[in-house]
């Protein structure tokens, strides 16, 4: 598990990260979301040791990170960058060797990744001759070439077409399945919603919310319930402790203050007519995000 503890970083007088703590569990995809300038990129740079924190520390399975350990990380910076005039396969393999891979292993790994990412035919082209989307895929390969034990990816899906998103997603999920903690940031909340197991929301340099997707949804879920019944649910208007927000034949959106009332409503509904669906309305990540950054 990758643990960030009490990390603070200032640039001049500006505090960009203020006592930031969160965990990235092994084998879990953790989404890292926040507005522009919230501190995502700085936090990632500190995890990678590219920047030093003014306070706090980062540990992996309890051990403080040193250069050798960090070399096991896979990193995709927000500012994409590879050598434009270098051939794709050659530079992916070069980066693998900088991480300590023997030449043959680096080349084999580069070939495997480029094949999987659909770049096998372009592997001897210069990077600058690839389309932006393909350059982005090459960037993913660069982050993964050394079979990293931790992945930190800043906006890995931006600029990818839906098919490429699926491919990249598959590659990342494989890494998570092998037990690697995967931290990725994204502005595309719908993608995060679909992909992540855990979520960390940052705003203005502070962690606003963190936890598993289910926990967060339950925590920010409020008190709305949905009922879909085969019969008419007009009787709900007369129920004590229940406010009807929307009503349409067999469907109702309700405001219910406590669980006991909810159970009573469900029993009554089941007695009345077959119930297709009843449950709390979980907010989407977009809604949670809006709620916490407000």
């Amino acid at each position: 598990m990758l643990r960030i503890e009490g990390v603070t970083r200032r640039f001049g007088d500006r505090t960009v990260l203020d006592d930031v703590s969160f965990d990235v569990g092994g084998g879990r995809m953790t989404g890292f979301v926040g507005g522009n300038g919230a501190g995502k990129t700085t936090a990632m740079r500190i995890i990678l040791g590219v920047l030093a924190p003014h306070a706090g520390r980062v540990t992996l399975d309890g051990d403080p990170l040193d250069t050798a350990r960090r070399a096991q990380f896979g990193y995709m910076p927000e500012e994409r960058g590879l050598y434009p005039k270098m051939r794709v396969r050659e530079q992916i393999a070069y980066l693998g060797r900088l991480h300590g891979m023997p030449k043959s292993a680096a080349e084999k790994s580069a070939d495997g990744l480029l094949d999987r990412l659909g770049l096998a035919e372009r592997r001897n082209d210069k990077l600058e001759d690839l389309s932006l989307g393909n350059q982005q895929r090459a960037q993913i390969a660069a982050a993964l070439v050394h079979e990293p034990e931790v992945l930190v990816l800043d906006e890995p899906f931006s600029g990818l077409d839906p098919m490429a998103v699926e491919v990249v997603l598959g590659v990342l999920q494989d890494a998570a399945r092998r037990g690697a903690p995967v931290l990725f940031s994204s502005h595309q909340l719908d993608i995060v919603e679909r992909l992540c197991d855990d979520l960390v929301v940052i705003g203005d340099g502070r962690i606003l919310a963190s936890g598993s997707r289910e926990q967060l949804r339950a925590r920010y879920g409020g008190s709305r319930y949905e009922l879909q019944s085969a019969g008419d649910v007009g009787w709900l208007r007369a129920e004590p402790g229940v406010g009807v927000v929307e009503f349409d034949g067999g469907y109702a959106l309700l405001e219910i203050a406590d669980r006991a009332t909810a159970q009573r409503v469900l029993r009554r509904a089941v007695d009345d007519a077959p119930v297709d669906r009843f449950g709390p309305v979980l907010p989407t990540l977009t809604e949670i995000f809006r709620e916490v950054v407000r």
């Binding site: 590219v50 096991q72 910076p77 960058g81 050598y83 005039k85 300590g100 660069a142 079979e147």
Partner: protein
């Protein structure tokens, strides 16, 4: 669990980075073409020099006293003077190549020259006359000028060309952000050392190739006497160049790390470029001024030019190049230490131009 790779230690890392620099440069067409042009220029100048020296102008001769009759007329431009002292004066001032004065030897005359026996004059007499050299150690001032210019141009060209190349490759990595991936893997000092090493190897190879082409050219065109005279200064030039170039390379990369775009590069590295240009102009304009050249031979930025020139002129004691080398190495070590901190501090700051003090703070 996947295999854990251990990142390379300092020297293997440096080697990896240097290899990439080398292969990138060697694949660049512009580098190959400009190198070929430079070598061709050196070869042409050697050949032109040999053609020029194969057609020497008529030897000028000062003749004192009643011996004119024994010199074949038409072979020399003869100036008649009153006595031996006046003839010697003309030789010293360089107005004539040699003088013939009366003597009580078997030949009846003596030949006076500045630094080299004038073979054509000696051959003109049936009995070989004695030759008196006024200053046997002095180098021909014209050759000395070209030697000074040669060292100046070679250092200037190599430092500017490869210094700019290093600066550009630093900014390239910063501009296209690959540096962030590199720094997450590799310490900045490894990146810097690899970059300096890779480009230095190319610079040294180019200088060595130029020296070899010039040497082979001089021998092939029968100018081996000049080669023998210039040998020791070339050796010292190469030694001083190696350290001088590393020092300049550190300066170029540190200053380049302060900017984020190629457009800003020229103004950022201009102070370093001045440090390269000033010695060049000094040697062009003051190569006859012993004091200026002596000072230049100790100042680290001009020692690779100044000291070889003094060695060629024979004005340097044996220990002087060693002292200059020690001063240069000490300066290089200091500059590399500060330069690598500026480089590391500047790399991740993008946007405007970074101040040196900010970069040093990290």
């Amino acid at each position: 669990m996947t295999t854990r790779y251990v990142p390379p230690t300092f020297w293997p890392g440096v080697r990896l980075v240097a290899e990439r620099e080398l292969s990138t440069r060697l694949r660049s067409k512009s580098f190959l073409i400009s190198s070929a042009i430079l070598l061709a220029a050196v070869l042409v100048s050697v050949v032109v020099g040999s053609i020029a020296s194969a057609n020497p102008s008529r030897t000028t001769l000062a003749v004192a006293g009643p011996i004119t009759a024994s010199i074949p007329s038409g072979a020399f431009d003869v100036t008649e003077v009153t006595d031996a002292a006046a003839a010697e004066q003309l030789v010293r001032s360089g107005d004539v190549d040699a003088a013939v004065v009366p003597d009580d030897s078997a030949a009846g005359v003596r030949v006076i020259a500045l630094d080299e026996t004038p073979a054509d004059v000696v051959a003109a007499f049936s009995i070989r006359p004695d030759v008196q050299l006024l200053d046997a150690t002095a180098a021909d001032p014209a050759i000395a000028y070209f030697v000074a210019l040669g060292f100046g141009v070679a250092f200037f060209m190599a430092a500017i060309t490869f210094g700019q190349t290093i600066a550009q490759s630093v900014v390239e990595e910063k501009q296209n952000r690959v540096v962030e991936i590199l720094m997450a893997t590799t310490p900045a000092r490894v990146l810097l050392a690899g970059k300096i090493l890779g480009n230095s190897i190319l610079a040294f190879a180019q200088i060595a190739l130029i020296a070899a082409v010039a040497g082979v050219g001089l021998v092939a065109t029968g100018q081996d006497a000049l080669l023998a005279g210039i040998g020791p200064s070339i050796v010292w030039f190469v030694i001083l160049f190696v350290f001088g170039f590393v020092m300049l390379a550190a300066l170029y990369s540190a200053t380049a790390a302060l900017v984020s775009r190629q457009e800003d590069l020229a103004s950022a590295v201009s102070p370093v470029t001045m440090l390269v240009m000033i010695p060049y102009f000094l040697i062009v304009f003051f190569n006859q001024n012993d004091t200026v050249v002596a000072i230049m031979s100790y100042v680290p930025f001009s020692a690779p030019i100044g000291m070889p020139v003094r060695i060629f002129l024979g004005t340097a004691q044996w220990w002087e190049p060693l002292v200059a080398l020690a001063v240069l190495i000490a300066t290089t070590v200091g500059i590399v230490a500060v330069g690598s901190r500026v480089y590391a501090g500047g790399l991740l700051r993008t946007g405007g131009r970074v101040k040196v003090r900010e970069a040093l703070r990290g």
